[in-house]
C-alpha cells in the first residue's frame, strides 16, 4: 500500500520554474529550472577568467541573465571552491568550476554550490539541482513561479 505522505509543512513548495536571485554574485533576478533529474546546480556563464587575490583563486565570468535578451550582460566574481567533472543530461562530461552562493526564492534564502557551464544553447540560464534543494523544498511539477511572477519589462528593469 502506498503511503500518501502529505507535504511536510516545513518544506517549501516550489514550481518546476521559479524566479530566484543570487545576491552574493549580484544577480537580482534569474529564472531557474528546478530539476530533480539533476544532481548539481548549474549557471550558464561565458568568458570565464581566473585570477589570484592574496592566495585565493577567483573566477570572473559574464552571464546573460535573461533569456532572449543577449543585449543584457552582467559580470560576476566568485571564489573558486572546487573544480569538478559533471555530466550533462546528454551524458557529456566536462570539468567545471564550483562556486558557493546564497540562493533566494521568495522569502527563503540558503547557501548552495553552483557549477559554471556554457549553457547558452539551452533555454534556462540556471538549473537548481538536488543537492541545492537540500531537503528544504518539494517540487510541484504542475506549478510555475509560485514565489512570484515577473513581466519581461520588470526583469529588464532589474538590470538597468
Amino acid at each position: 500500500m502506498t503511503k500518501p505522505v502529505l507535504a511536510n509543512t516545513d518544506l517549501i513548495t516550489v514550481g518546476w520554474r521559479e524566479w530566484i536571485s543570487l545576491p552574493d554574485i549580484n544577480l537580482p533576478l534569474i529564472k531557474a529550472k528546478v530539476d530533480t533529474g539533476a544532481r548539481t546546480s548549474a549557471l550558464h556563464a561565458f568568458e570565464l577568467d581566473t585570477f589570484d587575490n592574496k592566495g585565493i583563486e577567483f573566477v570572473r565570468f559574464l552571464i546573460h541573465p535573461l533569456q532572449e535578451r543577449n543585449d543584457i550582460v552582467k559580470e560576476c566574481i566568485a571564489e573558486i571552491k572546487d573544480t569538478r567533472w559533471v555530466s550533462d543530461s546528454g551524458g557529456h562530461r566536462e570539468q567545471r568550476y564550483v562556486i558557493s552562493t546564497n540562493v533566494s526564492i521568495g522569502t527563503h534564502q540558503w547557501p548552495i554550490e553552483m557549477t559554471l557551464t556554457n549553457r547558452d544553447t539551452m533555454k534556462f540560464r540556471m538549473l537548481l539541482g538536488r543537492t541545492a534543494m537540500d531537503s528544504r523544498i518539494v517540487v510541484n511539477p504542475a506549478g510555475s513561479y509560485l514565489h512570484g511572477r515577473h513581466s519581461r519589462k520588470n526583469c529588464a528593469a532589474h538590470y538597468k
Partner: protein, 164 residues
C-alpha cells in the same frame, strides 16, 4: 428533480475531491520503483521535474506495418536484466533538442505506467539510455497534479496498481 439534485451533488462533490487532490498531492522521491505494461515489468525510474515527458531505455527498436498502420517492435530490460520484446502502435516521432549535438529523433508509444497506486497511460519516448543509471525517466506530463517531488527522498513507494 431528485435525479437532477443527485447529479448536481455528485458533480460538486467530485469537483471538491479533485481540488483537494490538486492542492495536496502525495510526495514521492526522485527515484521510485515503477511498473509498466500491466504490472509486468518493474524499473527504478528517475522522477525528473526537468523533463517534459517520460522516456525509457530500449536495447533496440524497429518499425513495421500492421494493417497499413506503423508499429514499433522494441526490446527492454527489466530490473533483473531479462530481455522483453514489446510491440506498440507508433504515436509519432519526436525531436529532442540536445546540447552540443544535433537533435535526436525518438519513436513515441503509449504505455501504461504505475507509480504507487496511480496508473496512467502516457506517451513514452523510446531511447537508448545504456550509459545512464536509470533506465526510465518520468517527466512532468505524468507527474502534474498527481505528485510532488522531494529530491531528498528515494524509493518511498512500490507500484501497486490493479491489473486492467
Amino acid at each position: 428533480m431528485k435525479i437532477f439534485l443527485c447529479i448536481l451533488l455528485s458533480t460538486s462533490f467530485l469537483g471538491l475531491v479533485s481540488n483537494v487532490v490538486q492542492a495536496n498531492p502525495p510526495v514521492i522521491g526522485w527515484v521510485e520503483r515503477v511498473a509498466v505494461s500491466d504490472q509486468q515489468y518493474r524499473f527504478d525510474a528517475k522522477i525528473d521535474t526537468g523533463a517534459d515527458n517520460t522516456s525509457m531505455h530500449v536495447e533496440n527498436y524497429h518499425f513495421f506495418e500492421r494493417n497499413f498502420v506503423k508499429w514499433v517492435r522494441f526490446t527492454i530490460n527489466d530490473n533483473n536484466g531479462k530481455d522483453i520484446t514489446l510491440e506498440r502502435k507508433l504515436v509519432k516521432i519526436t525531436r529532442i533538442k540536445r546540447k552540443l549535438l544535433h537533435a535526436a529523433e525518438r519513436p513515441v508509444v503509449r504505455m501504461i505506467v504505475c507509480i504507487g497506486n496511480v496508473v496512467k497511460e502516457v506517451n513514452v519516448n523510446l531511447v537508448n539510455r545504456k550509459k545512464f543509471k536509470h533506465k526510465m525517466l518520468i517527466g512532468r506530463s505524468y507527474l502534474k497534479n498527481t505528485f510532488l517531488v522531494d529530491s531528498g527522498a528515494k524509493n518511498t513507494t512500490e507500484p501497486e496498481c490493479q491489473r486492467r
